[in-house]
Symmetry: none
Subunit: 226 residues, 2 copies
Amino acid sequence: MVHDGRMTLVGICEDDPDVRRVLTDALKMGGHRVVIARNGREAVENLGRDSGVEVLILDIGLPDADGRDVCQALRANGQHAPALFLTAFDAVHDRVSGFHAGGDDYVVKPFAISEVLVRVESLARRARPQPASISGLVLNPDRLSVHVEDREATLTPTEFRLLAAIAREPGSVVRRRTAVAAAWPDGAIVHENTIDSYIRRLRVKLASIDSPVELTTVRGVGFTLR
Amino acid sequence: MVHDGRMTLVGICEDDPDVRRVLTDALKMGGHRVVIARNGREAVENLGRDSGVEVLILDIGLPDADGRDVCQALRANGQHAPALFLTAFDAVHDRVSGFHAGGDDYVVKPFAISEVLVRVESLARRARPQPASISGLVLNPDRLSVHVEDREATLTPTEFRLLAAIAREPGSVVRRRTAVAAAWPDGAIVHENTIDSYIRRLRVKLASIDSPVELTTVRGVGFTLR
DNA sequence: CAGAACCTGCACATGACCTGACTGCATCGA
DNA sequence: TCGATGCAGTCAGGTCATGTGCAGGTTCTG
């Protein structure tokens, strides 16, 4: 399985060990990683701003707190990851109001695992940095594509990672080594020349969609977008 | 929750007070009004032709009747509002064996309220009830089929779940693992290759009805519709 | 000019994916 | 009861996209 960079770090706050287990297993099956909190206190400790958590799954009916309060606390702490609330059947009223207020999502217990999985990924997608647009050039991670106006070119995973690394700071120069490290994340050792091949392919594909942005070389340093 | 601001009068026939409560609250929060029936008899009394009800929500597993029969009775009575059936998770077989009580919609319990709200509003908005459509491609859960214009292909349950999972986010790539987790919900372990076989079958069936939508592979990542 | 850095085109191994056929199982109707 | 049917899942073998490296040419810099 190729690492495509869209693994999501999910923070779970749930007191029931069985439910925790089910969620954890399903998410790991889906290729994600999980951080656990057993109650509101642990949630604030483990799922805060600096935890790297991208999506929150919060049980509303915690023994020591309401999941929405936990959410509020985390938000106040600078954690803005979208939340998926788990609620029991008999707490609808609060749930609905919370949902309307937040823009987050919720699922009623007992839930289908596939439902949770799909929703988590949907939330993660929405929360991800919006498709960065550099003078008309748009990178679309969901489709591994780059498009300008209505023209689209599909990229391979490696091509996409490389272009994304360079496009991250439009205008400024990305060093060769930096680009390699970004496009080959797991420390893979690639031939010096390989990156040139990819740069070339990217140039060809960008040209094929009449991109207004050019992928130029800064000799002795790296590459940049103009 | 987005809707078009039109208030809809929804008729609910459901014996479980908790579920009634959940539905009622959610629909009211969504800006709709509700008429209640606790069983089949009350449904025929309260939700008939002259009740003004625009959308029906009918539990299939009523104590005194089958929701489908209730629907039939209402139809015979001149009530032609589109119906949303609630079915228990373990009664999928009924659905497979196909009730065509008017090509309406259904939701499997346990359900997410947002799901119900979306479907109710969808049913209310359209003159004829219509399941989710992706650029001409229509998935019909009632009949386990997919059709485009007047051409229809029937799917097996597994095929349907897989296609539904991929069609859920049209345009964006659904990763292999996600698709597997969604189409084989109970954590079943299937051979790596199995999904390929199903993808192929779906492609054949989509081609057989001249689908404008193609089920394409994004190598190393997953599948997408376009 | 020399040497380095980079570009270009191509070759090729790998593995992801496709394809068609097969087996086992459950259901259904005669 | 028994075969017919259809579905789920597996398998073996082939195909092809992708990632990678190489050879040779071109451009830049001093």
